[in-house]
Protein backbone atom coordinates (compact mmCIF):
# COMPACT_ATOMS: atom_id res chain seq x y z
CA UNK A 1 0.00 0.00 0.00
CA UNK A 2 2.63 2.52 1.08
CA UNK A 3 4.72 1.30 -1.83
CA UNK A 4 1.92 2.15 -4.26
CA UNK A 5 1.36 5.53 -2.63
CA UNK A 6 5.06 6.25 -2.85
CA UNK A 7 5.09 5.37 -6.53
CA UNK A 8 1.95 7.34 -7.33
CA UNK A 9 2.70 10.43 -5.26
CA UNK A 10 6.29 10.91 -4.14
CA UNK A 11 8.51 9.27 -6.75
CA UNK A 12 9.84 11.80 -9.27
CA UNK A 13 7.81 14.54 -7.54
CA UNK A 14 4.59 13.28 -9.05
CA UNK A 15 2.45 15.12 -6.48
CA UNK A 16 3.43 18.30 -8.32
CA UNK A 17 1.53 17.09 -11.40
CA UNK A 18 -1.63 16.63 -9.32
CA UNK A 19 -1.21 20.09 -7.82
CA UNK A 20 -0.69 21.65 -11.22
CA UNK A 21 -3.68 19.73 -12.58
CA UNK A 22 -5.77 20.70 -9.57
CA UNK A 23 -4.94 24.35 -10.10
CA UNK A 24 -5.97 24.07 -13.75
CA UNK A 25 -9.22 22.29 -12.85
CA UNK A 26 -10.10 25.02 -10.35
CA UNK A 27 -9.21 27.85 -12.74
CA UNK A 28 -11.10 26.22 -15.58
CA UNK A 29 -14.20 25.55 -13.45
CA UNK A 30 -14.15 29.00 -11.88
CA UNK A 31 -13.96 30.95 -15.12
CA UNK A 32 -16.40 28.61 -16.88
CA UNK A 33 -18.90 29.13 -14.06
CA UNK A 34 -18.45 32.91 -14.30
CA UNK A 35 -18.84 32.94 -18.09
CA UNK A 36 -21.73 30.46 -17.98
CA UNK A 37 -23.61 32.44 -15.34
CA UNK A 38 -23.05 35.74 -17.15
CA UNK A 39 -24.28 34.49 -20.55
CA UNK A 40 -27.00 32.39 -18.93
CA UNK A 41 -28.32 35.35 -16.94
CA UNK A 42 -28.53 37.56 -20.03
CA UNK A 43 -30.34 34.87 -22.01
CA UNK A 44 -32.75 34.17 -19.16
CA UNK A 45 -33.65 37.84 -18.90
CA UNK A 46 -34.14 38.20 -22.66
CA UNK A 47 -36.33 35.10 -22.69
CA UNK A 48 -38.36 36.27 -19.71
CA UNK A 49 -38.90 39.75 -21.12
CA UNK A 50 -39.77 38.56 -24.62
CA UNK A 51 -42.11 35.89 -23.24
CA UNK A 52 -44.04 38.36 -21.11
CA UNK A 53 -44.14 41.47 -23.22
CA UNK A 54 -47.55 41.68 -24.86
CA UNK A 55 -46.99 44.87 -26.78
CA UNK A 56 -49.24 45.61 -29.77
CA UNK A 57 -46.52 47.64 -31.46
CA UNK A 58 -45.50 45.76 -34.63
CA UNK A 59 -41.80 46.67 -34.38
CA UNK A 60 -41.59 45.59 -30.74
CA UNK A 61 -43.38 42.38 -31.59
CA UNK A 62 -40.85 41.48 -34.27
CA UNK A 63 -37.95 42.32 -31.97
CA UNK A 64 -39.48 40.11 -29.30
CA UNK A 65 -39.99 37.28 -31.72
CA UNK A 66 -36.43 37.45 -33.05
CA UNK A 67 -34.87 37.75 -29.59
CA UNK A 68 -36.94 34.89 -28.26
CA UNK A 69 -36.16 32.76 -31.28
CA UNK A 70 -32.39 33.31 -31.06
CA UNK A 71 -32.36 32.44 -27.37
CA UNK A 72 -34.45 29.32 -27.93
CA UNK A 73 -32.27 28.18 -30.83
CA UNK A 74 -29.09 28.80 -28.79
CA UNK A 75 -30.39 26.76 -25.88
CA UNK A 76 -31.67 24.02 -28.19
CA UNK A 77 -28.35 23.66 -30.04
CA UNK A 78 -26.15 23.81 -26.92
CA UNK A 79 -28.31 21.44 -24.91
CA UNK A 80 -28.85 19.15 -27.86
CA UNK A 81 -25.18 18.36 -28.50
CA UNK A 82 -22.63 16.62 -26.23
CA UNK A 83 -20.11 18.83 -24.48
CA UNK A 84 -17.25 16.64 -25.73
CA UNK A 85 -18.22 17.27 -29.35
CA UNK A 86 -18.61 20.98 -28.63
CA UNK A 87 -15.16 21.03 -27.08
CA UNK A 88 -13.54 19.38 -30.11
CA UNK A 89 -15.32 21.78 -32.48
CA UNK A 90 -14.37 24.85 -30.45
CA UNK A 91 -10.74 23.77 -30.07
CA UNK A 92 -10.06 22.43 -33.56
CA UNK A 93 -12.39 24.47 -35.78
CA UNK A 94 -13.35 27.76 -34.14
CA UNK A 95 -10.14 28.50 -32.24
CA UNK A 96 -7.97 27.06 -34.99
CA UNK A 97 -5.32 29.73 -34.41
CA UNK A 98 -2.26 27.94 -33.08
CA UNK A 99 -1.54 30.60 -30.47
CA UNK A 100 -4.88 30.22 -28.66
CA UNK A 101 -4.22 28.50 -25.38
CA UNK A 102 -6.11 25.23 -24.93
CA UNK A 103 -7.22 26.44 -21.52
CA UNK A 104 -9.05 29.38 -23.11
CA UNK A 105 -10.81 27.01 -25.51
CA UNK A 106 -11.80 24.96 -22.48
CA UNK A 107 -13.19 27.95 -20.59
CA UNK A 108 -15.19 29.14 -23.61
CA UNK A 109 -16.50 25.64 -24.30
CA UNK A 110 -17.62 24.86 -20.75
CA UNK A 111 -18.85 28.42 -20.22
CA UNK A 112 -21.07 28.30 -23.30
CA UNK A 113 -22.25 24.81 -22.53
CA UNK A 114 -23.15 25.71 -18.97
CA UNK A 115 -24.83 28.98 -20.00
CA UNK A 116 -27.69 27.14 -21.74
CA UNK A 117 -28.51 25.18 -18.60
CA UNK A 118 -28.03 28.20 -16.34
CA UNK A 119 -30.38 30.25 -18.55
CA UNK A 120 -33.17 27.71 -18.11
CA UNK A 121 -32.55 27.47 -14.37
CA UNK A 122 -32.69 31.24 -13.92
CA UNK A 123 -35.74 31.64 -16.16
CA UNK A 124 -37.60 28.93 -14.29
CA UNK A 125 -36.60 30.53 -10.98
CA UNK A 126 -37.94 33.91 -12.04
CA UNK A 127 -41.13 32.44 -13.40
CA UNK A 128 -41.73 30.54 -10.16
CA UNK A 129 -42.16 33.84 -8.31
CA UNK A 130 -45.88 34.44 -7.92
CA UNK A 131 -47.33 36.72 -10.61
CA UNK A 132 -49.05 38.77 -7.89
CA UNK A 133 -45.64 39.99 -6.74
CA UNK A 134 -44.84 41.84 -9.93
CA UNK A 135 -48.45 43.02 -10.23
CA UNK A 136 -48.16 44.47 -6.73
CA UNK A 137 -44.90 46.13 -7.64
CA UNK A 138 -46.32 47.70 -10.76
CA UNK A 139 -49.46 48.84 -8.84
CA UNK A 140 -47.24 50.61 -6.33
CA UNK A 141 -45.77 52.65 -9.16
CA UNK A 142 -42.45 50.84 -9.69
CA UNK A 143 -41.22 50.48 -13.24
CA UNK A 144 -40.76 47.05 -14.83
CA UNK A 145 -37.02 47.21 -14.18
CA UNK A 146 -37.48 48.30 -10.56
CA UNK A 147 -40.02 45.54 -9.97
CA UNK A 148 -37.57 43.00 -11.34
CA UNK A 149 -34.57 44.26 -9.35
CA UNK A 150 -36.24 44.93 -5.99
CA UNK A 151 -39.07 42.43 -5.88
CA UNK A 152 -38.86 39.54 -8.32
CA UNK A 153 -35.15 38.72 -8.55
CA UNK A 154 -34.44 38.67 -4.78
CA UNK A 155 -37.22 36.10 -4.41
CA UNK A 156 -36.12 34.24 -7.50
CA UNK A 157 -32.57 33.79 -6.17
CA UNK A 158 -33.93 31.55 -3.45
CA UNK A 159 -35.51 29.32 -6.10
CA UNK A 160 -32.48 29.45 -8.36
CA UNK A 161 -29.65 28.79 -5.94
CA UNK A 162 -30.05 25.05 -5.26
CA UNK A 163 -30.39 24.21 -8.95
CA UNK A 164 -27.54 26.56 -9.86
CA UNK A 165 -25.27 24.93 -7.28
CA UNK A 166 -26.12 21.61 -8.81
CA UNK A 167 -25.12 22.93 -12.23
CA UNK A 168 -21.77 24.17 -10.85
CA UNK A 169 -21.08 20.76 -9.36
CA UNK A 170 -21.87 19.07 -12.67
CA UNK A 171 -19.64 21.55 -14.49
CA UNK A 172 -16.62 20.90 -12.26
CA UNK A 173 -16.86 17.20 -12.94
CA UNK A 174 -17.50 17.72 -16.65
CA UNK A 175 -14.17 19.53 -17.03
CA UNK A 176 -12.49 16.13 -16.64
CA UNK A 177 -12.65 15.64 -20.42
CA UNK A 178 -10.49 18.69 -21.09
CA UNK A 179 -7.34 16.52 -21.19
CA UNK A 180 -8.30 15.61 -24.75
CA UNK A 181 -7.41 19.11 -25.93
CA UNK A 182 -3.97 19.20 -24.31
CA UNK A 183 -4.89 20.78 -20.98
CA UNK A 184 -3.27 19.20 -17.95
CA UNK A 185 -6.09 18.91 -15.41
CA UNK A 186 -6.36 16.52 -12.46
CA UNK A 187 -7.75 13.68 -14.59
CA UNK A 188 -5.06 14.09 -17.24
CA UNK A 189 -2.32 14.18 -14.58
CA UNK A 190 -3.74 11.01 -13.06
CA UNK A 191 -3.85 9.31 -16.46
CA UNK A 192 -0.28 10.36 -17.24
CA UNK A 193 0.89 8.96 -13.93
CA UNK A 194 -1.14 5.80 -14.51
CA UNK A 195 0.66 5.32 -17.81
CA UNK A 196 4.05 6.13 -16.29
CA UNK A 197 3.68 3.67 -13.39
CA UNK A 198 1.77 1.02 -15.36
CA UNK A 199 -0.80 1.08 -12.61
CA UNK A 200 -3.94 2.87 -13.63
CA UNK A 201 -6.20 2.51 -10.63
CA UNK A 202 -4.45 4.32 -7.74
CA UNK A 203 -3.95 7.66 -9.56
CA UNK A 204 -7.53 7.57 -10.83
CA UNK A 205 -8.84 6.90 -7.31
CA UNK A 206 -6.75 9.80 -6.09
CA UNK A 207 -8.21 12.06 -8.79
CA UNK A 208 -11.71 10.91 -7.85
CA UNK A 209 -10.99 11.78 -4.21
CA UNK A 210 -9.84 15.26 -5.20
CA UNK A 211 -13.05 15.92 -7.17
CA UNK A 212 -15.11 14.50 -4.32
CA UNK A 213 -13.50 16.79 -1.73
CA UNK A 214 -13.99 19.87 -3.93
CA UNK A 215 -17.65 19.01 -4.52
CA UNK A 216 -18.20 18.35 -0.80
CA UNK A 217 -16.75 21.73 0.11
CA UNK A 218 -18.89 23.43 -2.52
CA UNK A 219 -22.01 21.62 -1.28
CA UNK A 220 -21.31 22.80 2.28
CA UNK A 221 -20.82 26.39 1.12
CA UNK A 222 -24.02 26.39 -0.90
CA UNK A 223 -25.99 24.87 1.97
CA UNK A 224 -24.72 27.61 4.27
CA UNK A 225 -25.72 30.25 1.77
CA UNK A 226 -29.19 28.76 1.35
CA UNK A 227 -29.67 28.63 5.12
CA UNK A 228 -28.70 32.26 5.34
CA UNK A 229 -31.28 33.15 2.69
CA UNK A 230 -33.98 31.09 4.40
CA UNK A 231 -33.56 32.97 7.72
CA UNK A 232 -36.75 34.96 7.33
CA UNK A 233 -38.82 32.10 5.91
CA UNK A 234 -41.88 31.25 7.91
CA UNK A 235 -42.01 27.72 6.55
Amino acid sequence: MSDILYKVLIEKDRYLAYLEGFKTTLLLSFFSVLLGTAIGFVIAIIKYVTDHNKSQNAFKCTCNFIGNFICNAYIAVIRGTPVYVQMLIIYFVIFSNRETSPLLSGVVCFGINSSAYVAEIIRAGIEAVDGGQSEAGRSLGLSFLQTMIYIVIPQAIKNILPALGNEFIVLIKETAIVGNIAVLDVTKAAMNIGVATYNYLPPLLLAATIYFIVVMILTKLLRGFERRLAKSDRR
Binding site: R14, Y18, V93, S96, R98, A182, N192, V195, A196, Y200
Partner: protein
Protein backbone atom coordinates in the same frame (compact mmCIF):
# COMPACT_ATOMS: atom_id res chain seq x y z
CA UNK B 1 -47.17 25.52 -38.51
CA UNK B 2 -45.31 27.88 -36.21
CA UNK B 3 -43.41 24.97 -34.76
CA UNK B 4 -42.50 23.77 -38.23
CA UNK B 5 -41.04 27.17 -39.07
CA UNK B 6 -39.06 27.16 -35.83
CA UNK B 7 -37.58 23.75 -36.60
CA UNK B 8 -36.76 24.83 -40.13
CA UNK B 9 -35.07 28.01 -38.99
CA UNK B 10 -33.14 26.18 -36.27
CA UNK B 11 -31.78 23.68 -38.76
CA UNK B 12 -30.89 26.52 -41.12
CA UNK B 13 -28.96 28.16 -38.32
CA UNK B 14 -27.07 24.95 -37.60
CA UNK B 15 -26.15 24.62 -41.27
CA UNK B 16 -25.09 28.25 -41.31
CA UNK B 17 -22.88 27.78 -38.25
CA UNK B 18 -21.42 24.62 -39.73
CA UNK B 19 -20.62 26.33 -43.01
CA UNK B 20 -18.92 29.14 -41.09
CA UNK B 21 -16.63 26.56 -39.57
CA UNK B 22 -15.92 25.00 -42.95
CA UNK B 23 -15.13 28.37 -44.42
CA UNK B 24 -12.55 28.99 -41.73
CA UNK B 25 -10.78 25.70 -42.35
CA UNK B 26 -10.88 26.15 -46.09
CA UNK B 27 -9.16 29.50 -45.94
CA UNK B 28 -6.56 27.90 -43.76
CA UNK B 29 -5.80 24.99 -45.99
CA UNK B 30 -5.89 27.28 -49.00
CA UNK B 31 -3.32 29.62 -47.56
CA UNK B 32 -0.43 27.52 -46.31
CA UNK B 33 1.88 30.39 -47.20
CA UNK B 34 0.18 32.56 -44.61
CA UNK B 35 0.46 29.93 -41.91
CA UNK B 36 4.10 29.39 -42.76
CA UNK B 37 4.75 33.04 -42.23
CA UNK B 38 3.11 32.94 -38.85
CA UNK B 39 5.27 29.92 -38.03
CA UNK B 40 8.35 31.87 -38.98
CA UNK B 41 7.61 34.92 -36.91
CA UNK B 42 6.59 33.01 -33.82
CA UNK B 43 9.35 31.84 -31.50
CA UNK B 44 7.58 28.69 -30.40
CA UNK B 45 7.49 25.34 -32.12
CA UNK B 46 4.39 23.38 -31.18
CA UNK B 47 4.48 19.59 -31.18
CA UNK B 48 1.27 17.58 -30.84
CA UNK B 49 1.53 14.13 -29.29
CA UNK B 50 -0.14 11.52 -27.10
CA UNK B 51 2.05 10.69 -24.13
CA UNK B 52 0.98 7.10 -23.55
CA UNK B 53 3.49 5.45 -25.86
CA UNK B 54 6.74 4.72 -24.04
CA UNK B 55 9.54 4.89 -25.13
CA UNK B 56 8.50 7.29 -27.91
CA UNK B 57 6.54 9.66 -25.70
CA UNK B 58 5.54 9.29 -22.06
CA UNK B 59 5.67 11.17 -18.80
CA UNK B 60 7.83 10.38 -15.82
CA UNK B 61 6.45 12.91 -13.36
CA UNK B 62 2.89 13.08 -14.68
CA UNK B 63 3.26 16.43 -16.43
CA UNK B 64 6.50 16.71 -18.45
CA UNK B 65 6.48 14.71 -21.67
CA UNK B 66 9.73 12.89 -22.50
CA UNK B 67 10.73 10.19 -24.97
CA UNK B 68 12.44 9.45 -28.29
CA UNK B 69 10.12 11.72 -30.28
CA UNK B 70 10.65 14.51 -27.75
CA UNK B 71 14.44 14.18 -28.09
CA UNK B 72 14.04 14.44 -31.86
CA UNK B 73 11.71 17.43 -31.47
CA UNK B 74 14.25 19.12 -29.23
CA UNK B 75 16.88 18.69 -31.94
CA UNK B 76 14.48 20.19 -34.51
CA UNK B 77 13.71 23.14 -32.22
CA UNK B 78 17.42 23.67 -31.61
CA UNK B 79 18.16 23.62 -35.35
CA UNK B 80 15.37 26.13 -36.00
CA UNK B 81 16.32 28.31 -33.04
CA UNK B 82 12.88 28.04 -31.47
CA UNK B 83 11.41 27.12 -28.16
CA UNK B 84 9.61 23.76 -28.10
CA UNK B 85 6.11 23.51 -26.66
CA UNK B 86 4.49 20.09 -26.35
CA UNK B 87 0.71 19.70 -26.51
CA UNK B 88 -0.24 16.37 -24.98
CA UNK B 89 -3.67 15.28 -26.28
CA UNK B 90 -5.30 12.15 -27.71
CA UNK B 91 -3.66 10.39 -30.68
CA UNK B 92 -6.42 11.18 -33.19
CA UNK B 93 -6.52 14.69 -31.69
CA UNK B 94 -2.81 15.13 -32.44
CA UNK B 95 -3.37 14.11 -36.07
CA UNK B 96 -6.25 16.60 -36.32
CA UNK B 97 -4.23 19.36 -34.64
CA UNK B 98 -1.51 19.20 -37.27
CA UNK B 99 -4.05 19.24 -40.11
CA UNK B 100 -5.73 22.29 -38.60
CA UNK B 101 -2.43 24.07 -38.07
CA UNK B 102 -2.96 24.02 -34.29
CA UNK B 103 0.48 22.43 -34.06
CA UNK B 104 3.57 22.76 -36.25
CA UNK B 105 4.10 19.04 -36.36
CA UNK B 106 2.85 15.84 -34.78
CA UNK B 107 5.32 13.25 -33.54
CA UNK B 108 3.56 10.36 -31.86
CA UNK B 109 4.93 7.24 -33.49
CA UNK B 110 2.81 8.00 -36.55
CA UNK B 111 2.89 5.47 -39.38
CA UNK B 112 2.58 6.73 -42.94
CA UNK B 113 -0.59 5.50 -44.63
CA UNK B 114 -2.16 6.52 -47.91
CA UNK B 115 -5.22 8.04 -46.24
CA UNK B 116 -3.07 10.09 -43.89
CA UNK B 117 -0.73 11.24 -46.68
CA UNK B 118 -3.76 12.73 -48.42
CA UNK B 119 -4.48 15.13 -45.58
CA UNK B 120 -1.01 15.82 -44.18
CA UNK B 121 2.62 15.72 -45.29
CA UNK B 122 5.16 13.31 -43.85
CA UNK B 123 8.85 13.63 -43.14
CA UNK B 124 11.37 10.89 -43.91
CA UNK B 125 10.72 7.74 -41.90
CA UNK B 126 12.99 7.66 -38.89
CA UNK B 127 12.33 4.33 -37.25
CA UNK B 128 10.94 0.91 -38.05
CA UNK B 129 8.28 -0.45 -35.78
CA UNK B 130 7.31 -4.06 -35.43
CA UNK B 131 3.65 -4.58 -34.60
CA UNK B 132 3.27 -7.48 -32.18
CA UNK B 133 0.52 -9.28 -30.28
CA UNK B 134 0.32 -8.92 -26.51
CA UNK B 135 -1.63 -11.62 -24.68
CA UNK B 136 -2.55 -12.61 -21.17
CA UNK B 137 -0.29 -15.52 -20.17
CA UNK B 138 -3.01 -17.45 -18.37
CA UNK B 139 -5.66 -17.18 -21.07
CA UNK B 140 -3.78 -19.08 -23.80
CA UNK B 141 -6.50 -18.43 -26.38
CA UNK B 142 -4.30 -16.63 -28.89
CA UNK B 143 -1.03 -18.30 -29.81
CA UNK B 144 -0.45 -16.95 -33.32
CA UNK B 145 -1.95 -14.60 -35.89
CA UNK B 146 -4.04 -17.48 -37.20
CA UNK B 147 -5.95 -17.58 -33.92
CA UNK B 148 -7.31 -14.10 -34.59
CA UNK B 149 -10.64 -15.38 -35.93
CA UNK B 150 -14.10 -13.91 -35.66
CA UNK B 151 -14.37 -14.91 -31.98
CA UNK B 152 -11.22 -13.12 -30.87
CA UNK B 153 -11.51 -9.66 -29.32
CA UNK B 154 -8.57 -7.46 -30.27
CA UNK B 155 -7.68 -4.25 -28.42
CA UNK B 156 -6.03 -1.34 -30.24
CA UNK B 157 -5.47 2.36 -29.81
CA UNK B 158 -7.95 4.43 -31.83
CA UNK B 159 -6.54 5.73 -35.10
CA UNK B 160 -3.30 3.71 -35.04
CA UNK B 161 -2.14 1.47 -37.90
CA UNK B 162 -3.04 -1.58 -35.83
CA UNK B 163 -6.59 -0.21 -35.63
CA UNK B 164 -6.86 -0.01 -39.43
CA UNK B 165 -5.10 -3.38 -39.80
CA UNK B 166 -7.68 -5.13 -37.65
CA UNK B 167 -10.55 -3.38 -39.42
CA UNK B 168 -9.29 -4.14 -42.91
CA UNK B 169 -7.42 -7.43 -42.66
CA UNK B 170 -8.98 -9.36 -39.81
CA UNK B 171 -12.44 -10.61 -39.01
CA UNK B 172 -11.96 -10.41 -35.28
CA UNK B 173 -13.93 -8.09 -33.04
CA UNK B 174 -12.33 -4.75 -32.38
CA UNK B 175 -12.11 -2.75 -29.18
CA UNK B 176 -10.67 0.75 -29.50
CA UNK B 177 -9.00 2.51 -26.59
CA UNK B 178 -7.58 6.00 -26.24
CA UNK B 179 -4.69 4.75 -24.12
CA UNK B 180 -2.80 1.44 -24.24
CA UNK B 181 -2.92 1.29 -20.46
CA UNK B 182 -6.71 0.95 -20.63
CA UNK B 183 -6.33 -1.89 -23.11
CA UNK B 184 -3.73 -3.51 -20.83
CA UNK B 185 -6.13 -3.35 -17.87
CA UNK B 186 -8.85 -5.02 -19.90
CA UNK B 187 -6.40 -7.66 -21.10
CA UNK B 188 -5.37 -8.41 -17.51
CA UNK B 189 -9.05 -8.83 -16.63
CA UNK B 190 -9.56 -11.06 -19.69
CA UNK B 191 -12.08 -8.64 -21.16
CA UNK B 192 -10.17 -8.79 -24.45
CA UNK B 193 -8.01 -11.56 -25.91
CA UNK B 194 -5.02 -9.59 -27.15
CA UNK B 195 -3.64 -6.18 -28.04
CA UNK B 196 -1.90 -5.39 -31.32
CA UNK B 197 0.68 -2.66 -30.84
CA UNK B 198 4.25 -1.51 -31.45
CA UNK B 199 6.96 -3.82 -30.06
CA UNK B 200 8.86 -1.21 -28.01
CA UNK B 201 5.94 0.13 -25.96
CA UNK B 202 4.71 -3.46 -25.72
CA UNK B 203 8.00 -4.51 -24.12
CA UNK B 204 7.72 -1.66 -21.61
CA UNK B 205 4.17 -2.72 -20.86
CA UNK B 206 5.06 -6.40 -20.38
CA UNK B 207 8.01 -5.45 -18.17
CA UNK B 208 5.60 -3.77 -15.77
CA UNK B 209 2.79 -6.33 -15.97
CA UNK B 210 3.88 -9.90 -15.20
CA UNK B 211 0.57 -11.34 -16.38
CA UNK B 212 1.17 -10.22 -19.95
CA UNK B 213 3.44 -11.63 -22.64
CA UNK B 214 4.40 -10.81 -26.23
CA UNK B 215 4.04 -13.44 -28.96
CA UNK B 216 7.21 -14.08 -30.97
CA UNK B 217 5.46 -13.70 -34.27
CA UNK B 218 5.34 -10.27 -35.89
CA UNK B 219 1.97 -9.12 -37.23
CA UNK B 220 3.46 -6.60 -39.66
CA UNK B 221 6.11 -3.92 -39.67
CA UNK B 222 5.78 -0.29 -40.50
CA UNK B 223 7.75 2.91 -40.25
CA UNK B 224 7.21 6.06 -38.25
CA UNK B 225 7.43 9.60 -39.55
CA UNK B 226 6.69 13.11 -38.35
CA UNK B 227 3.53 14.73 -39.75
CA UNK B 228 3.19 18.39 -40.75
CA UNK B 229 0.34 20.43 -42.23
CA UNK B 230 -0.27 19.75 -45.92
CA UNK B 231 1.77 22.14 -48.04
CA UNK B 232 4.03 23.34 -45.24
CA UNK B 233 7.24 22.50 -47.13
CA UNK B 234 9.40 24.86 -45.11
CA UNK B 235 8.67 23.04 -41.87
CA UNK B 236 8.99 19.69 -43.64
CA UNK B 237 12.41 20.54 -45.06
CA UNK B 238 13.68 21.71 -41.68
CA UNK B 239 12.45 18.50 -40.05
CA UNK B 240 13.87 16.28 -42.79
CA UNK B 241 17.27 17.92 -42.54
CA UNK B 242 17.44 17.25 -38.80
CA UNK B 243 16.09 13.71 -39.15
CA UNK B 244 18.60 12.81 -41.87
CA UNK B 245 21.44 14.12 -39.76
CA UNK B 246 20.22 12.21 -36.69
CA UNK B 247 19.82 9.00 -38.69
CA UNK B 248 23.33 9.41 -40.19
CA UNK B 249 24.83 10.01 -36.75
CA UNK B 250 22.99 7.01 -35.29
CA UNK B 251 21.44 9.34 -32.73
CA UNK B 252 17.94 7.91 -33.00
CA UNK B 253 19.05 4.41 -31.94
CA UNK B 254 20.86 6.11 -29.08
CA UNK B 255 17.65 7.89 -28.02
CA UNK B 256 15.73 4.61 -28.13
CA UNK B 257 18.36 2.86 -26.01
CA UNK B 258 18.33 5.77 -23.54
CA UNK B 259 14.59 5.47 -23.09
CA UNK B 260 14.33 1.68 -22.96
CA UNK B 261 17.19 0.70 -20.63
CA UNK B 262 16.48 2.30 -17.30
Amino acid sequence: MKRLITILLASLMVIFLASCGNGATETETKAPAGTEESVNTSGVLIMATEAGFAPYEYTEDGSTVVGVDVDIANEIAKAMGKELRIENMSFDGALLAVQQGKADFAAAGISVTEERAEVMDFSVEYTTSRQVIVVNKEAGVINSIDDLNADAVVGVQTGTVADFFVQDELESQLKQYSKFMEAAMDLKNNKIDCIIMDALPAEEMVKANEELAILEEEVFTDKYAIAVQKGNTEMLDAINEVLERLIAEGKIDEFIINHTTK
